[in-house]
Symmetry: D2
Subunit: 463 residues, 4 copies
């Protein structure tokens, strides 16, 4: 174990969050600080791009705080997230002390163009969405990686029959490929939703109460303010909102919903893998980690467990974002806005970790075909009892079919029972009882799912 | 009060839910029962449309259960939601006894085509989405009604200055029109999301474990099953899913998210109206209801209160839907699916009530311009202190500006203080202090919001 | 299926809530209406008991509305929950129209003593807690029933070894009795919490803003009002609060927390039963229901599934109650209070259903000892690998122990491997590998758990 | 701003959490690490106290890792939370690498007594509850501080009349003291619940699956294991549980419920202060912070805003703990346990911050009696309309009373209207209209609330 001790002011370095460790550098407080600085610099650049701010003032600001390298700029200037956090309490947000600190670090001429006409919320909302956007790109990459792997998995096991389970019990056969195809569709849909949400995340610039009054006072014309707002969005790489959205918080809740949906999608995979990895089931095993030297019989589905820990937490975080949106009273609410910040960050963090683990889980997933086959046979043929009913009912009637399968349920040999039926004389009993011959459209559904995932025509959701 | 007493088996007739009373007939258990019957009849019709089921069997089923009138069909046949609810416990869902009851009510030849190849989940998922779709149409209508009214409201009060409040305190001026425009954008976005979600709600048809095996056994070819699935979607008016989605629950969570977003949007309106209706503020008043004969000074914002009661509940209902999605293990999960049903219904119900109240609230909203003007003056000019800083700082420097506004903050006359500054000699002080002259782009933002709402180009969210 | 159709105004007769069907008559809207009437009659009786109200007025009220039979009184007078629900919208709560309706049904002299000095919240809070108290008695009875059964179960299977599972994998042996003992402790603790909460549920009586001003105006002395408040509590059977608690909502959240805890406790049982009932595991089976005639191999853990559906919903309902408490602004809040009513009712309802199902589940639970034994042997002895390490490490060192168990993990015979170790010559290998001999303090822990549950000294939680 | 930059591995130093900054050092990852080490050392000491472990081994462990100074021990040994966090991913929890690292740092003889017979969950559960206990002591201290201040506040303003508001509207008079008394009761009750929960937090020691099998293998007798478990509890200062509670999670949920209740209680205060600080109301002001140099008219209720941000988040965190409890399947669940850790920490952290802010808020709270008086008069006497009805109805009948107050509601002078009534000739109209004379039992309720808080007989909740 290496030696650097964290400072006493680090509340969270991941010790209690194994699902996100190694995946969360995009959402650290340092990353947020860099984004706050980026937003301030972007505003100065936007003024510069209009010709409103002198080029040398903008240059000085960029040079000082490091456009394209705001994190380095912070370090160079000793702008520390810890110090800002402490200074944020009095005013309730970190932008107030940040602006003061930034202004101290440049000439008065440049300082005048820092935060000009803006309000704390403009900078904080913009910075959080910069962080969210950058992190969402990574979540999307993990989801896409998982998608590619799931497409292969679905193809590879397209026709491998396996027991389908409803309400914990063997029902009828399915295929491993169809199960993977379900995961694929869930991940794909969630990825598409997240991409859509990510691309529409809007910059925020409206001034003290969202009227842009100070911006107008500085710039003199509505057109110039409109230009500044567009330039600011361009500089931040965020979408341009036609109107400030200070207390209309759907950009945050839509992002939150998409993140929760992404975690749901990988949570479903993890639920299945954890279940199918059970000692008695053993159809699947995570290929990496999870071993126990003291108990070598254990093959803990470690990634599944971690993903599930995220999936159990995410929905309630999403709910908090919605509550904050519904309670966004006035032109800046008395608590609801502040409740969003750590909640959104934690939700992004969970999505980063859960999606990364999901990709790795799928990549290393091991299918134990012996176990699959053994399990399929566990009900001694009754897994196709539905098929038997379809085939035999026209021959012997529903009542006698029920008698046959009930007898088999009590332990009699199903094939022999059917073989003893005169009416069933012509049937190929082995074929009738073969689970592989009763997987319905599983293959076709795999193909359809893979087609969707390859960008083929998506009928899902089309009216 | 009229006399019909509800039966002892009605748990909920709305006594504890004033926000939804009068708006929830689309989501009663009777409506759900009718939709269950509709789904079963639709399946028979779908078989009929393929030529698989004999026309007279389908006719018999339609005649018995009333296509386009399933509710009447239920009543005619004594299919009661209460009885089904009781019979649903053993198997855990109401479709099992429903199918039995329906089969008893037709000839054996027709009975064979009821529920053929389907599983309970096919019928229940489809029925809940039929109910959801029909209800969502009404929610959308209420939102659209509110939107039209808000567009007018925003236009009517486009230039009426009013105090903007941040963190409960007067900040700078805004306009009543801009506040309404914010509401408009929120409602419009939520309505668009809901419409999108509503139109993509997919029918469910996959059989016992989503493989369509029994359907294939009955129909003989993949193509025929594909045709049946498409016909079933057509009959139900739902979207066709290329693959069953038994345990990929995003259709439910996306709908849930959209419903919560709709409630958030009207919740924000209600939060503002409730606040601005406070006795001391009095800028807004609901025009209907809320009076108290004993305390005539009260003008309770009754609709706002009710809408807020929904907005505080909805996010946690949405969270439950996400949890159910993340825990949808196997081919039918052991509890998560069942948790969805009442949760989704309650969420739709809240959306119905909250949206209807919101439309009524906006329709009857009264603006008291005397109160608006009085409040604007409450800080004796300091509401434009930001503007004073912008204007005076170049003339007297930031330190002296702070002194001036601080003195005004302690009670000195702001106009006189500025008037006594030699550097400010040329200023039109009355104009400088006029809140109406410091509303920034409020008017332009109103116009942009109204343009969006009229279907003009929507830059919001465009990359 | 019997024929009475529910009226179109019944939103919920249980069709979507199989977990609560048959257990929810204590929380119907009719039960709430009866409790509202009971609260009003109790207030009149309290006035009567002080000698403030004339005996004949109180008699008239009691006779009219049926003390000890408020439900009958409602029916006799045509007081219908449906009608009240409709009339409640304008004012936002059903007490306003109820008082009007009750006053119309008695003489003016009696009417004057109805609702005298009270506010709607007094009656509604009191009524909801009457309903809650009565329902909680039933929940407690179910929990106590389950407790008795679990005590027997734990004793019966005190020494039956079974595989313990951690992170889905066989770890070491435990006993079926210890598992039951864990359930027992959870249920017992939850029952105790619920009883404590239930017994402290306080009546509400404070007048328009909780000052009792109108009560004082009517009665003339602080002592008389204090007496009235005490008498009111006595009449309702609720606890007496020394001060009204209109916007201090811990009576509601503490009850909510206890209900959620009760559902958690039975949820844990259901999670275990559902898992251990899996086709491949088969150690447990619910004895009642859950069968499928079409798929006789299925033994659906139907009660477990239903209980789990409640357990996934309850925590978010509890969260809503807490939110309402935190947002209980002013002397009556603008939405938070209204959000409580249906939420609390639904939470009680879930507890009623989940606890009843749990008692039945435990009562009929079947243990398949063959499956238990088979599963214990599934890792071919490695389930005691921890023990092997404890015993062998002193003999051959940790490294060689790891080699032995690793070899066994790859398939070698564990007994033979150990038998071939010279250092292990004196060991009784069969005894070493016997899972029944490595259950630690399981028996003692069962005894301790049963002792607790029998009211013995409870060290749990003692400092 | 000072210069130390946090390491890139610190996800959270408080930048997005102003409500907790400065109050969270008890719950940092370093504090958790120290508690993990403390738990391990406590186990060695417990073995030592039984005479099972040699004294020198225990001494070596204590000396190495610093009993009573585990944090220093970690630093001395380079045990870093960051490194452990990274090493925790593979196995899913930080105890596994911690034990390895600790064993490397002592002699083999001592290493044998580290973690002996324990499982990761024993150490992690115990450590989290050590952290929780220590933090809860601080939360309690803040609550008690607030309680003392609120008692004074309630006494100081016992008889100061103020407008009571229901549904945002002036209803009848109350007193500032009674409002403070309500806050006092809420805080007091929450503090009592938290103390009760805190004192019962149990140590965890059960081994791999809660049977204590390895402990028994090491110690040889049930009595010795029982002694060890008791000694371990004593060493950690936690309560002794008679049985391990690995998957019976009520110790966590009860703590969580108490923390949420504490946050609710201060959230209610914050809601009232934020509302009563509104520019138009101005009855209260926070005495510290919240100023804006640019907008001196603003007196932001900064602490209230921050407390509210916590109150909006806490309930959903509590819900996650309950979900984890309900889903605690098997002898260690597949995700639910892991979901608890960060959730519980964040909830404690919010309680620390919210309670500290609440104490400070109350300490510095300013009452503006001018504003209180002005607001009381805002409805020109109608605030006592309820009283007028009580007094005048016997004289002129309810209908004419309604006419009088309605006329006043339209603007007529209420005193003059009453003065013109012949039937009211004898009334002292000024006294009748005096809000101070219509505060009911407010004073008595203040006294009762203060008595409770002073430890007097608590009738609340007594049956």
């Amino acid at each position: 174990m290496p030696s650097p001790t964290p400072p006493p002011d680090a509340i969270d370095v991941g010790l209690l969050s194994p699902v996100t460790v190694g995946h969360d550098d995009a959402v650290t407080d340092d990353a947020v600080l860099a984004a706050l600085v980026t937003a301030e610099v972007a505003l100065a650049r936007a003024y510069g791009s209009l010709g409103a701010a002198p080029a040398d003032a903008v240059d000085e600001i960029e040079t000082a705080f490091g456009w394209e390298g705001a994190a380095r700029g912070c370090r160079a200037h000793g702008l520390s997230a810890t110090a800002l956090a402490g200074a944020a309490v009095a005013g309730g947000n970190p932008v107030i002390p940040l602006v003061g600190a930034m202004r101290e670090r440049v000439s008065p001429g440049a300082a005048a163009w820092l935060h000009r006409g803006a309000t704390s919320q403009d900078i904080l909302d913009t910075a959080l969405l910069i962080v969210a956007r950058d992190a969402a790109v990574r979540v999307s990459a993990s989801l896409r990686h998982a998608e590619v792997l799931l497409r292969s998995l679905a193809r590879a096991w397209r026709d491998e029959p396996a027991a389908a389970r409803t309400l914990t019990q063997h029902a009828v056969p399915t295929t491993i490929g169809l199960r993977a195809a379900g995961w694929l569709r869930g991940v794909r849909r969630a990825g598409a939703r997240l991409d859509e949400s990510r691309r529409s995340l809007p910059a925020q610039l409206g001034g003290a109460a969202g009227t842009g009054a100070a911006l107008l006072a500085h710039l003199g014309s509505v057109e110039a303010v409109t230009g500044l707002r567009a330039a600011f969005a361009t500089e931040t790489g965020l979408a341009a909102a036609s109107v400030p959205w200070h207390t209309e918080r759907w950009p945050v809740t839509e992002l939150g919903d998409a993140l929760v949906q992404a975690i749901d999608a990988v949570g479903k995979i993890a639920a299945d893998v954890a279940t199918l990895s059970r000692t008695e089931i053993g159809e699947l095993a995570e290929g990496a980690g999870g071993g126990s030297s003291a108990m070598p019989q254990k093959r803990n589905p470690a990634s599944s467990v971690l993903i599930r820990s995220a999936a159990l937490r995410a929905p309630q975080l999403g709910a908090t974002l919605h509550l904050a949106a519904a309670l966004a009273v006035d032109e800046r609410p008395d608590g609801a806005w502040h409740a969003e910040w750590p909640t959104l960050r934690e939700l992004i963090r969970l999505a980063l970790g859960a999606a990364a683990h999901a990709a790795r889980l799928v990549e290393t997933l091991h299918v134990d075909t012996d176990a699959v086959t053994r399990n399929l046979a566990a009900t001694r043929g009754l897994i196709v009892s539905e098929r038997i009913a379809v085939v035999l009912t026209p021959l012997i009637g529903a009542d006698r079919v029920r008698e046959v399968v009930a007898a088999a349920g009590r332990g009699d040999d199903l094939g022999a029972l059917i073989g003893s039926l005169p009416e069933a004389a012509g049937l190929d009993i082995d074929a009738l009882l073969d689970p592989a011959a009763y997987t319905g459209l599983a293959g076709a559904f795999v193909d359809a799912s893979r087609l969707l995932a390859e960008g083929g025509e998506d009928q899902e959701g089309a009216p």
